[in-house]
Subunit: 632 residues, 3 copies
């Protein structure tokens, strides 16, 4: 699919005098922007009092944007219900795991399980859809589900809904007791109404209890989102999106993704480096002004999988310093352009900068915009303009299937977090390290959902840490001719987070039994015979399969049987590189020995080369400046 | 006393299909086990609904075990009351120090002060004793009092009981005000009903208030345990035990120990190393797969003192990786045997492995058993079998009195925690370091209670940090011919945690006055004249006694008068070694210069040598392999 | 103004048998003390039950002190209301930010906004003033406002009072919504009664909301203190003081300072070094027994500004180890004298040692006094006596105006804490580092309030981080001929913590626009062209002014226009030293190159030299011992 690549921005007409709007729109159009997102925090201006709808100003704002030739994404304002909503629904607030209601005064102050609030959210969405359904070019539901830890709520509403969810799932407490193994510590229930939310227990709750609460919480998000989508659909044929945040794994994005046409996300490379990554200080120093070389790419590839038919955007692109990380440096000159091109290289339809003009008031005063608070051009402005010019001579940015597939499974993230078995054993981190390892070899990657039923077209497939392989994926793995690497911990659990018997990994035709799991201190990794180490997680395996990687003591690390490999531990960088290099080669691919800061994205027709480092790099005989992008 | 040394395991028939039981019992017997502990988490199966007693299955399980020649320890199931108990007694939950009820869903979810729950605990205990009192060979009350910080509860029930406890102790608020020094900040009370639990005060509460709350809390445990013991005694002459956890100091084990015949504890060397010890990363790396060389031995010696007539067991012996520490590595091959022999060397009657078969469900799925979840033998199985074979040629493991006595006083642990005066000043740690220092010199140690009235038979006695010397112990110290070392902080406090006047240590005939106490940064220890340092805690002493250790500035560190020494600070390893070496020599003992990883336990008839290191060690001309035990 | 310099102590007659009093008073007088503070924690003895006044014992104590020739400071006992107060006013407790009432059992257990308690505080104050107003020589209100984080309370009383405060300030919610920018996330209010306290919001509250809560909380302290002052004034002409703690910035000391004659504070150099300073371990090791070389001096200079007409005391001087820091070492011999002289050098009228006799009971047993608990002289006694002797030959300790002025603004501390924008960006720390930088150059400093209207007599003026310059100060800066350095972040905010437009710093006649702010990792500072670095905070400036310091990339760090400089970042020590040296030289001062441990205080007539190091230092050809003071 070849789409026009466009630029956009996020605009808050309600923040500015109405006589600014015309000039703002004109400057956006001059800059070369196509899209403007509006409305997603404006509920108190759209309905200042219950039932008092004030949509005219929004209509005028849209008209002005349209008048300048811009297209509009309208956000439903449900992430920021006004103060009067709380008077109507005093118990609508989410409750934290210590039992404190999470109060009004910022944003996302609602519990997904509160029916009264959900009805209000549907109502305002329906009203907006009725009024603007034929007018705006796209929609966004709510904003950043899960930001500020807002998926889990321990409210009364959540408790009631969780009990109902369990009753529907298990039908009887006997079935639930068996599934959870509640006999273990006399945790058996006679009534669904006796089951509480799994917070504030004396020691860890039953992991099945905790996992079901995470599943339930994710379902509540999908239910909430689905209701908004339905309300919009009834009055609009414009595509619908939700705008996701980075490294939010508390709900299943594939489930909400299926409800809509487009997935968008917020790419804040510098904020994420400081706030979302475990890498060491040397890494954070090196990339302080460019961001991690793989974190944005990972999410680009992830949201390409979340969006229906691969349709995805960056809805909020960092244009300068942000305000919310522990440290908020300015990007190196050129990075705003660089990040934009990187998104396009991974298939983004649109990259929208957050925000048009920096706000002089409230929580995000130190979050840069394309304009300064006084309306002068900020640094990002000229870089966006450069991209706009370059887009006219755009290389063909198709999104062909990549040669490598990497499974990402939200339920596994929950299962690992419920039962990490060792400090640092985090599912996202494991998958991300594998992704980074593939990228360091110059490979382009598709992230795929755990329900994928076919692996056709892939030469290499990885599914590290997927706790329970779905039947379709298991069949696809068995049937594929691609090189496949499973493990560690792949297929190690039942749906209820129990240990299956026969013991894992239980892959048909693959003789391996994990007889023991251990987790190890970061400072005592286990040396592999040929270099590198296993860290954090290691499985002892009884097997007759060939071990092509083993510890110095001879314990298998990587088993291989035909095209199927099983990795029994968490490899460090050196071991991972050797394993991936061998597998890629066996798959007929050509792994590269890239310089530290160089990454490549191959779209099928075009090969992009990105230098993420702070210095110029000579690669392939070509000097790539810092913040440099090359394509051919 | 010479007893037969036996092996055992912990078994949960309720976790497995009944048709497994027969084979399980047979395999236990074949392995050479003698004892099986059952029942301690089974309340929801013994009484699925209030009054609906279902004891038949347990009867059948016991019969099957008996049929295989095994002996049975029956645990009262009171650590895991069923969910219906909460419906009957909604306020039975303990409350944490922030005021949150500690909810159902795991275990130990009760407040020791709740009379309604205590009555239920007595009821089920009585019913079990009536039914099985003549049948089982031993009893266990509840399980692991204090695990998961469950001694202190800030519930309404605890508040009421604490007021009553204070009223009984002080008889008048005037007496309490005087004892506590409540005039200090106008904290005086007119009524016992005005006294609250000492949590959530603006800054630290009165230390006497905090200490009395700890005393009260400990008494509540003894009261709860004593009631169960009485209920059993009425129907059974089998010995009764409680199963303690490692490094739990929140209640006085000597008080509960006096109520029963046997003390048992849970020995998890690798979990403890990671989770319960302050030692540095190098230490944790070295012993990651063997456990700390002294931590288990310390508890073995402690529980020998807690058990009546020195009777003690390991009720739960780690048989492979556990699930609850920050990291959970596998033991080195041989360690399971090694730990078992170490326990026997310290006088254990029985070492029981936790657990028979690894559970495939619920909280402890990654806790190894002797069997894997699928019933195959795990690593520990063969090592247990080896011990069973070796036991037939058992060296005579008597428990003669050791030459060295070390006082351990729970009330001092509370006093130090209430008033540490400096970060890192922890009573357990102080005593443990002295114990470790003695062990590094090859000395065998008896831990003794603070009420000990005679020191006969000991050559060397240490009582570091015992805040208030009891009258019997003070008399024994004055009367003994043994070398005695007191301090730091020994006898530094009244019962109410006040400073006595005359000032400490106030030992008759020993001229020393602690005129000033200081606590010091770990990185600025005070150098001793002859090497080594004082760290953390240092007392300035006015004295006419001879200082046989002093700082480089000449301040006394160790005073000596006849056979009595007073240590004015917390010695580092080098200083401690010199002090202990001198004292042991003066006591007529022969301190050894052991290699780092070697420890010796002398039982009177047999000398055991243990190599705790990861490598073989040549000692006394003999090569001891890692995980090696030698005896002669 | 030349005043007699005096010594004093803090005494608690209610802690001791009445037959001790006479001898205590005689020993105080013999020691050379002039002042004794009493009464501030004695409410439960002054009024054991509601209305049951027992003032006679206090009268007798005062008579005895007077009889020995001592003068008395009487403290109102309102920091420690008795237990019966809580029965009368169960909701008088402050509430922490998690919603927990902060319970009785220590001290400062009240909410400043509780009218009922405030009336009680006024009542007891009035009664004491009536009885003792003509008798005592000075007064102290309450004690250590803000100690133990007691300024902010999230109680119902505070909520009601905050709403009223907002209503009075803004008059309409429209005005409030505009000032706060509540449109930002639909945070608009229709009623003041809908506004909650800014705790427990989902993510950060509106910074204007948070700042107004801090302003309100500070005003509540001033209201509480003002009421006590009025009650005393009605019956006494003796000077009134409040006794402040170190590094408490949660309320505006200038506001309370204006209500009274004298400011006093508590100087605990060793406690502060451990507990209140961010400096690294090497620094803390070096000064472990002397205290930070600048922290006490900073507060001395600060409280000279807080006290009316520069009148200030040290009300509590550390006399030996304290009990409340993470580590509590003993001072080096001589430090008690040293600290006393340092206070006099900065203008203290009186230095009072806390406390007379060490308490053998309650919370502060390990806090040294001039006497040991048994009444023997402690180390500090002889040093105090030495000062008393030296005072007779006192150098003339006038307090002339210093050549350098440094603005300290409590509201800026609140604004920075609400919106630090980067970890480590703390207002107090910034000002303190500038102060330390000035002191290292041998300069004496006056700290001045942000409302200062004239800078006459100063050669050099600094106002780093003052978020909003007051109109008087702005005019003074514009009008002065002194060298002035503003920035970073000076005048960067409106009163509502918004970004002003035109953009900061907006100093008339100074062409500079801060176009971007960034915060940076401590380990990635920005190198300055001529050495040193900018750390933590950096502003990008558009300017036509001359940059006399710039980054290696040429970005301005320090702009200079005539006598006005603007510093665009947070300088490290090397850069700061160069900047201050240049400015001081331009101001006609003579910056010195002092040894690391030497500090100088010039009072106009006398120059004191202090050696804060642990070793003797040769300075100006003279050997100054450790803990040494020289004057000429």
């Amino acid at each position: 699919m070849s789409l026009q690549r466009t630029l956009g921005t996020c605009y808050y007409p309600e923040h500015w005098p109405e006589d600014f709007w015309e000039e703002d729109a004109a400057r956006m159009a001059d800059l070369g922007l196509t899209w403007v997102r509006i409305g997603e925090f404006a509920w108190s201006r759209l309905e200042p009092a219950p039932g008092d709808l004030q949509f005219d100003w929004l209509d005028r704002a849209i008209d002005i944007l349209h008048g300048a030739g811009l297209r509009v994404v309208l956000g439903t304002p449900t992430a920021t219900p006004p103060r009067w909503m709380l008077t109507k629904h005093p118990d609508m607030l989410a409750v934290d795991d210590e039992g404190h209601p999470r109060k009004f005064g910022s944003r996302r102050h609602y519990c997904f399980s509160h029916d009264g609030y959900r009805d209000e959210a549907i109502r305002i969405t329906r009203l907006l859809a009725e009024r603007f359904g034929g007018k705006v070019e796209a929609w966004q539901t709510d904003n950043e589900y899960g930001c500020h830890d807002t998926i889990y709520s321990y409210s009364d509403a959540a408790r009631v809904a969780f009990r109902d969810w369990l009753a529907q799932k298990y039908q009887s407490t006997d079935a639930l007791n068996r599934a959870w193994g509640n006999v273990f510590w006399s945790m058996e229930y006679d009534s669904f109404n006796d089951i509480d939310l799994p917070n504030l227990t004396v020691t860890e709750p039953n992991p099945a209890h905790a996992l079901d609460f995470r599943r339930f919480s994710s379902d509540q998000v999908a239910r909430f989102n689905g209701a908004q989508v339905a309300a919009i659909r009834a009055h609009s044929s414009a595509p619908i999106s939700h705008n996701y945040m980075g490294r939010i794994v508390e709900f299943d994005h594939f489930a909400t993704g299926r409800q809509m046409e487009i997935a968008t996300w917020d790419s804040y490379p510098l904020g994420f480096l400081e706030d979302r990554l475990e890498d060491d200080a040397a890494h954070k120093r090196r990339y302080a002004r460019q961001g991690d070389p793989d974190f944005q790419a990972f999410h680009h590839d992830l949201y390409r999988a979340v969006g229906k038919d691969g349709r995805w955007w960056v809805m909020e692109q960092q244009p300068g310093p942000v305000n919310w990380a522990p440290h908020n440096p300015a990007p190196l000159p050129g990075m705003v352009r660089f990040w934009t091109w990187e998104a396009f290289a991974h298939g983004a339809e649109c990259v929208a900068y957050f925000r048009w003009r920096q706000a002089p008031f409230a929580q995000e005063q130190y979050h840069a915009g394309l304009l300064r608070p006084d309306g002068a051009e900020a640094e990002g402005f000229a870089e966006a303009a450069q991209v706009a010019r370059e887009l006219k001579h755009l290389p063909k940015v198709e999104s062909a299937q990549a040669p490598v597939a990497l499974v990402f499974d939200y339920a596994s993230a929950w299962g690992w977090s419920v039962q990490p078995q060792g400090a640092g054993c985090d599912y996202f981190r494991l998958v991300f390290e594998v992704y980074r390892g593939l990228r360091k070899l110059g490979l382009s990657v598709d992230i795929i959902s755990p329900d994928t039923a076919t692996l056709d077209g892939y030469a290499l497939v990885l599914a590290p840490g997927v706790l329970t392989l779905s039947e379709p994926l298991k069949a696809a793995i068995t049937g594929t001719k691609a090189q496949v690497i499973l493990g560690p911990r792949t297929n190690a659990k039942t749906h209820a987070l129990s240990t299956p018997i026969p013991l894992p990994p239980a892959i048909a035709g693959f003789d391996a039994t994990i007889s023991r799991v251990e987790t190890i201190r970061v400072d005592t990794p286990i040396a592999a015979k040929n270099g590198g180490h296993v860290k954090l997680w290691f499985e002892q395996i009884t097997t007759s399969e060939m071990a092509i990687e083993a510890t110095q003591d001879g314990a298998p690390i990587l088993l291989q049987s035909g095209n199927l490999g099983y990795l029994a531990g968490w490899p460090d960088e050196a071991l991972l590189r050797r394993i991936l290099t061998r597998a890629a080669t066996a798959a007929g691919l050509t792994p590269l020995d890239l310089p530290q800061d160089i990454r490549i994205r191959d779209t099928g027709q075009t090969q992009f080369t990105f230098n993420h480092g702070p210095d110029p790099v000579i690669y392939n005989g070509q000097t790539i400046p810092f913040a440099g992008v090359a394509w051919r």
